[in-house]
Assembly symmetry: C2
Homo-oligomer: 291 residues x 2
Amino acid sequence: MTIEPGDPAISEFDTAIALARREDQTDCYDATLDSGWMIGMGINGGLLLALAGSAVAAELGTQDGAHASPLAISAHYLSASSPGPAVLRTRTLRRGRTTSAGAVDLWQPSPEGGEAIRLSALATFGDLDDPAPEVRTSTMPPSLPAPEECVDARNGAPPGFLKHAALLQRLDLRLDPATSGWAVGRPSGRGEMRGWVRLRDGREPDPLMLLLAVDVLPPVTFDLGMSGWTPTLELTTHVRARPAPGWLRLSMCTRNLAGGLLEEDAEIWDSAGRLVAQSRQLARVPGQISR
Amino acid sequence: MTIEPGDPAISEFDTAIALARREDQTDCYDATLDSGWMIGMGINGGLLLALAGSAVAAELGTQDGAHASPLAISAHYLSASSPGPAVLRTRTLRRGRTTSAGAVDLWQPSPEGGEAIRLSALATFGDLDDPAPEVRTSTMPPSLPAPEECVDARNGAPPGFLKHAALLQRLDLRLDPATSGWAVGRPSGRGEMRGWVRLRDGREPDPLMLLLAVDVLPPVTFDLGMSGWTPTLELTTHVRARPAPGWLRLSMCTRNLAGGLLEEDAEIWDSAGRLVAQSRQLARVPGQISR
């Protein structure tokens, strides 16, 4: 099927975070994890975060207006998700005047029978159109070449990476040449990654899409000269502003790889030059024993 | 009562995170929030995080050895806690080979009757004595004068702050003169806070105590020239190493105050010069409407 850019009615992302509420249970939703969102051996953690956010939004009923945006969402990743059906069980924690909060667990049928829990998340929703005028941002948008001067991840990444990066068919991801030397065997050693991203089907960013975007850059361990998979243990994202349409500018870095774990700090800037999301995850260093 | 330094048997911190399991419910614990841990109009958020971590440890039964340390804990703060009884309800999410995870909700009797939920948290526990030898830390311990050359928060802070900082009777908190100008009306405007902390009763730091320590510096908004309370919406801490005995070196900064919210990033370094914890919180800017 050909998807025309700019037609959000059939966005693959909206399909991915779509939920079917079970008629007999108000706090239980069915979803499908599509293999097109795989990275490495599992479903992308950002996509799961967006799906979790979508479920809490449904639980809180915030789509209708008040508290419609995920201000903060924290997910603990408990086992690797696989393509196929998923069940999301939600819970309202509190409905407040300026924020509301909920919890969600994501389960999948286990190959050994029964169900296996994939992640558990907490989310606080609020309003991003706060009239508070004061802005004191000392951080600057990362400096990187324009998207057309960056490396298209589909062309520049090594075949061993692309084989396990189905989601690059859906994401237009352009990597800063200064942080993509790893693809040709010349990592910078600084533990940085920068790039641009947009959805190939033209669906514009919104707060839920930012939850995906915080986790789409290749792991910063590549830039440290390490190969392999960095499974996420925990990922928290703060959505700080409603993103303008267009390209999102991404940066990610680590400052401490130790004891078999590393943190990855990501920032997203929108096309208007505004910091729209900050995230941090704790991940396992490649080559460590599995969960 | 005089407490001799070095006697952990009667540590105020251990008393604060002590839990009484209800005999009829395996997943329900009673605790007491002591007014000595107040800051501003509520109980310190770091103390609540440590209590939540203590409850998940009890739920998972990790005190006995395996998976004994909180690697990552995420709390969403739902309403302000007050001195008095609290009930913690826990849930095991998953027991894995290298990590185990649990969830906890903290409730208090509500003045309006019934119970009010104060926070909900997720925690992933594991082992901090991982033999992985590789350390790649690009971040450096913050540079600040020795504790005896810093400002004792009990002496240096303005009376309006001290009146609502009972926990300074329990914490020996020394502030870097370079980031304590706010106390005499000369904030630096950079949004930074640095200092040293240890427990006055001599109880040495451990992973649970780090969960308290990430939230004991005055809010960085003071250094931006703003006064008042910055209620936490969400706080995630990663414990990265087991701390050595002695003073903990703290730093906290913000890079984005916008839309009525700000993030505060904290790091803790131990006396051996090792980065032992990283945390980030999303908080409300002073003067915003309440939850």
